[in-house]
């Protein structure tokens, strides 16, 4: 969108400014060139209004050749050529206008003015063209800074929303409904087991709330939370769900965003183990190599399972979260191959005491 031609109001203001320029030209060039007031105004005011429209082309020059560091020569050349071209057209138009005035008989003085002031007219035209260019460059810079500001606000809003949604998505309410159903069943057959399950569930929920409030927690705490979740699911799924875990000592102390693993273990249970008649083993591993913490989670899955529920959502949210936090877009790598699902998370290994 052209910033001036697209709005009648702006165009009117702009033309008014050029009317002023036209009057100045009448004084500067007309009177000094030996003309009288009237002929100078009749000659220069319409001409400057025409040039006002011609110089609007500077907008496109400014858009095509933005002020970028290292491109000064290109921009300069483009501006010089455009100014020469625009001013050339203007001077030609001035010639035409002078002849028209001559023929109509309004004043032979116009033609005289044109002949004497032609070189000066050309220079003034080029300068005016550049003035308009500068104006457009300022406008572009102003818009860009406004856009950047809005984008920043939008980004931080998005980040906060993603964070909130991620937190909310961490605990699937159906997990709680299913657990309560299991407890309800156990109360008649195994009261002690029902009580154990109640305590497990309460522990898990309390820890989720506590850890979720922190920015960073040690990986060991995150893994302990995943253990609690899986212990509850083991009550529900029985011996179909098996778990192995390997954590090297260097990895356990690394700081991670809270509830990082929760959507992953939930996926592994719901879309992996629970979809297999004979169940399978969830394998978790965490290692630290140099400055990178690598966490992997593997589980068997049925390649022919019906994919109706939102499988990718948890992964997608996690990806966004880690991108927000570490700026790396490749922190999460997931793949499914021949009935094995594998997720790998690579984040910077940071050791410290959480605030």
């Amino acid at each position: 969108m052209h910033p001036i031609l697209s709005s009648l109001r702006r165009l009117a203001i702009y033309l008014l400014a050029w009317l002023l320029i036209g009057l100045l030209l009448s004084v500067g060039l007309g009177l000094s060139g030996g003309g009288n007031w009237l002929t100078a105004v009749i000659f220069f005011v319409p001409l400057s209004l025409v040039f006002a429209l011609i110089t609007q082309s500077a907008w496109y020059v400014c858009r095509i050749f933005p002020l970028v560091r290292g491109r000064a020569w290109t921009v300069g050349t483009a501006q010089i050529l455009s100014a020469v071209f625009a001013s050339g057209i203007w001077v030609a138009a001035a010639g035409g206008w002078a002849r028209t005035l001559d023929v109509v008989g309004v004043g032979a003085a116009g033609a005289a003015l044109y002949t004497t002031q032609r070189p000066l007219l050309f220079v003034v035209g080029a300068l005016l063209f550049w003035l308009v260019s500068v104006f457009f460059y300022l406008l572009i810079a102003f818009d860009a800074s406004k856009d950047a500001e809005r984008e920043n606000v939008e980004l931080s809003l998005l980040a906060r929303e993603a964070e909130l949604r991620a937190l909310r998505a961490q605990i699937d309410p159906h997990f709680i409904f299913n657990s309560l159903h299991s407890i309800s069943s156990l109360t008649a057959t195994d009261a002690a087991a029902a009580r154990r399950m109640c305590l497990l569930l309460a522990d898990f929920l309390r820890e989720t709330l506590r850890l979720g409030g922190n920015d960073q927690i040690p990986l060991s705490e995150e893994l302990a939370l995943a253990d609690r979740f899986l212990a509850i699911e083991q009550v529900r799924l029985g011996d179909r769900l098996r778990i192995t875990r390997e954590t090297d000592a260097g990895a356990a102390g690394c700081l991670v965003p809270p509830l990082l693993l929760q959507p992953l273990v939930e996926n592994a249970v719901n879309h992996g183990i629970a979809q297999l008649v004979d169940g399978g083993t969830i394998r978790m591993a965490a290692t630290r190599t140099g400055s990178t913490l690598t966490i992997t989670l593997e589980n068997p899955c049925d390649p022919e399972r019906a994919r109706t529920r939102g499988v990718g959502l948890g992964l997608e949210l996690l990806r966004k979260r880690l991108t927000n936090q570490y700026g790396a877009t490749d922190a999460v790598y997931a793949q499914e191959r021949e009935g094995e699902f594998r997720v790998e998370i690579r984040i910077p290994a940071v050791i410290g005491v959480p605030a």
């Binding site: 409904f177 629970a274 022919e304």
Partner: protein, 251 residues
């Protein structure tokens, strides 16, 4: 609530979780007029048990491996009333579309179960069975294109991923699926199945044939005006004029 003169309801309980089955066993135990004739841990067992034992009512979990509750219902048809049992409420609308008797949300108690059983008795008393075909198409219209086709062969169930199908041939009220060396019959018309499959992958090349486009090797001109599709395994299928137009659109 129930009188002793009524005949006992013969019920099959289907859930992949032992604890959930145990709870139903316990709660149903309070109803003297209910007899659990089978417990199944997955959909295959459920289809087999329903076929062999002809129950009066099935209590059916939705989330199960391989075949979910809706798959099982599609395979057993409406001959048997079904009460769905699940922790997820998002399937409720679909459950009513397939004319389930009731929809129990986990966790539920004795009262809610009794209510569902009473509803089942009313349904059985009214004998309002629905034709299986209407049921399947009702349930499917809201779904994405089929990814797999379920075929019931007496008590056995075959799950065929659509990518493995070479072509499907119409046989009156049945369709015959050609899957590698196997030929499988399913009670459904070719037109119905065509609607359920992805039109970008399966093309009705002839009144009697629905072709998996991925299997097409080339098209040959036979006698005037008629064409033949040659599949990768050398099978030849006739192509009608409108079938040829559809094929050209996709290729």
């Amino acid at each position: 609530m129930t009188s002793s003169e009524e005949p006992a309801l013969r019920v099959i309980v289907v859930d992949d979780e032992e604890l959930a089955r145990a709870l139903l066993r316990e709660l149903l135990g309070a109803h003297p007029d209910i007899e659990i004739i089978a417990e199944c841990g997955n959909g295959f067992e459920a289809v087999k048990a329903v076929t062999d034992k002809k129950p009066d009512l099935v209590l059916l979990d939705v989330q199960m491996p391989k075949l979910d509750g809706f798959d099982v219902l599609e395979l057993i048809g409406t001959d048997v009333p079904v009460i769905f049992v699940t922790a997820y409420d998002q399937y409720a609308i679909k459950a009513f579309q397939v004319h389930a008797v009731d929809y129990l949300l986990k966790p539920f108690g004795a009262e809610r179960l009794a209510e569902a059983l009473a509803r089942a008795r009313t349904r059985i008393g009214a004998r309002e069975a629905l034709p299986a075909k209407a049921l399947v198409s009702d349930a499917r219209t809201t779904r994405a294109p089929l990814e797999r086709i379920l075929i019931r062969d007496r008590a056995d169930v075959h799950v065929i991923p659509v990518a493995k199908i070479d072509y499907i041939e119409s046989q009156d009220d049945y369709v015959q699926l050609k899957v590698g060396d196997r030929q499988l019959l399913k009670e459904q018309t070719l037109a119905e199945l065509e609607q359920l499959l992805d039109p970008g992958r399966f093309v009705r090349i002839h009144r009697r044939y629905l072709l998996n486009v991925a299997r097409l090797a080339r098209i040959e001109q036979a006698v005037t005006e008629s064409r033949v599709a040659i599949l990768q395994d050398g099978t030849e299928l006739p192509i009608s004029r409108s079938g040829y137009a559809k094929l050209r659109e996709i290729l």
